[in-house]
């Protein structure tokens, strides 16, 4: 039996494509339609109200507050991920004779936070940043603090605390990808540069940095999307509180749906969140496809 390659290709892809359409596209269409309805779960009645959900949401302070929380969260997270990720990747890229095995061991160890579940990470953070927990206890016994700080319950400290948690948990991913990029830079470039007398700093500025810029861009976009839709770490540590200080858009959607039971409104909020991520997603996908065809 001989088929045309194009048909075999499609045949191979179809089972996956069908499943994916079933679990993503169909629900997405459903929720999109739902966003034009008033749907309060206990009433079981849905009535078409056009764009009213959207107009109502855009007028509430709660939505814009969550929006700004999400943006601040995103911005800080991306900055720390890229800055720390690049620094640690550069550190781990240093090679010394006889230490290659040690270097690989470090590289493997550093992945651990990325492998643990969000729920596990959240519970560790809660015990570390507990009012009587290790962080306060350390600061107090070294006399940097007189009274314990309520890290996750203070209006000003809660957002920085969850940012710290998210930065810590996802940092390994950024280190590994950046390290792989740096390792792929041809060594001849450095050899030529050092023969020409370029200093280490100049080698970094004119060889390493230009080489990692595209990776930084891609990672920045992936991180924007990931941190925009982050749910479990914040939900399990602060639950959006205190007084909404850490309530980002996904949490707002969750509470609107599963506490207020207003599914139509939640759907509209979710669609708006999706529109924000979609803008970044389009750039990211364009870049990926470009590299794909190279």
């Amino acid at each position: 039996m001989k088929y045309k390659p194009s048909i075999v290709g499609w045949l191979a892809v179809i089972p996956l494509a069908m499943s994916l359409i079933l679990v993503t596209t169909v629900p997405l269409c459903y929720v999109f339609i739902l966003s034009f309805y008033r749907y309060y779960l206990p009433e079981k009645i849905q009535s078409f109200i056009g764009l009213l959900n959207y107009l109502e949401i855009l007028k509430t302070r709660e939505f814009w507050h969550s929006f700004s929380v999400t943006i601040v969260f995103c911005g800080c997270v991306i900055f720390f991920h890229l800055a720390l990720g690049l620094s640690i990747a550069l550190l781990l890229n240093q090679r010394f004779p006889g230490l290659e095995k040690v270097r690989r061991f470090f590289r493997a160890l550093i992945m651990t936070p990325w492998l643990i579940a969000g729920a596990v990470a959240a519970s560790i953070w809660l015990v570390l940043f507990h009012p009587f927990g290790a962080v306060n206890s350390m600061l107090m016994s070294s006399h940097l603090l007189k009274r314990p700080l309520i890290w996750l319950g203070d209006y000003r400290l809660a957002l920085p605390s969850v940012i710290g948690l998210y930065v810590w948990r996802n940092l390994p991913f950024f280190i590994i990808i950046l390290l792989a990029t740096i390792e792929s830079i041809p060594q001849e470039l450095y050899e030529a540069a050092s023969i020409d007398g370029a200093s280490k700093i100049n080698q970094f500025l004119y060889i390493t940095f230009p080489y990692v810029v595209p990776t930084l861009l891609t990672l920045g976009m992936i991180d924007t999307i990931w941190s925009f839709i982050q749910f479990d770490l914040i939900f399990l540590t602060t639950g959006g509180g205190p007084a909404g200080a850490t309530q980002n858009l996904p949490l707002l959607v969750y509470y609107t749906a599963f506490e207020d039971l207003t599914f139509g409104k939640a759907a509209a909020q979710g669609i708006l969140t999706f529109l924000f991520t979609l803008t970044f997603a389009i750039f990211y996908i364009k870049l990926s496809v470009q590299r794909e065809s190279e």
Partner: protein, 282 residues
Amino acid sequence: MRGLSKNSMINIKKYVWLTACIVVITIILLPIFWMCSIAIRESGEVFTIPPHWIPEKITLVAFKRVLNDPVFAQAVVNSVFVSLSVALISVFLSAIAGYGLSRFKFKGKNTFIVYMLSTQMIPPVLLVLPYYLILRKTGIYDTYAGLIMTYLTFTLPFCALILRGFFANIPVDLDEAALIDGCSRLGAFFRIILPLSLPGVIATTLFSFLVAWNQYLFALVLTSSANRRMLTVLIGAKLGQYNIFWNDLMAIDVIVCFPLIAGFFLLQKYFVRGITAGAIKI
């Protein structure tokens, strides 16, 4: 600089580098160390000033309590069953699709890749709304089947792209040789390509197991009974209690994450290759 030979300069640099690495890794791993350290101490020693990094008295009672808890055992069974099913189904579907994507040129291939990538940009919290409503209507709410189906959202595209990367490394000549020898396409795939990329396939399976194992939001929303409670939801529920037993909770954490960390260490090489070469185009 004059007094130092070139060799001792390298030695100094070596020690500076080692110290820097150890400091960075200690900071990154400290929370995980703290988790393990609390799991093996007595409850009176959880909150002390200054913190006791190494407990004064090491005890395994927390592990004993957790392992004897039927609620925990049920959650382990649930999580293992769901994650294993998700891993096997998604690797099976993605292996076939990944083979197609790595071997054939066909119309709409790039569109399909873009489609797979774009499904990853949908906020999970947006998808969970229709899932909740649809699963309630169709009667598969609070069942394994419902969870497994919805978990595929995360794993399918990722696995397909990773596996395509692994298959692309195997020369096409091997397929052709098998075809000439009378193998069917499917036979060539199962007898030649799959065994050759076995480590990659195992790493991908472990990866999708990990994604399913760690998933929280879907498990929280799409189940309600204690019989269908996943491990992550169990941890979340314990965090919401007024009186938290930190030793027991950290013991659960250790049991939940260590098998996977161990698996990762064994397959580390393939993981890194899969992530960098297949899934994310850098």
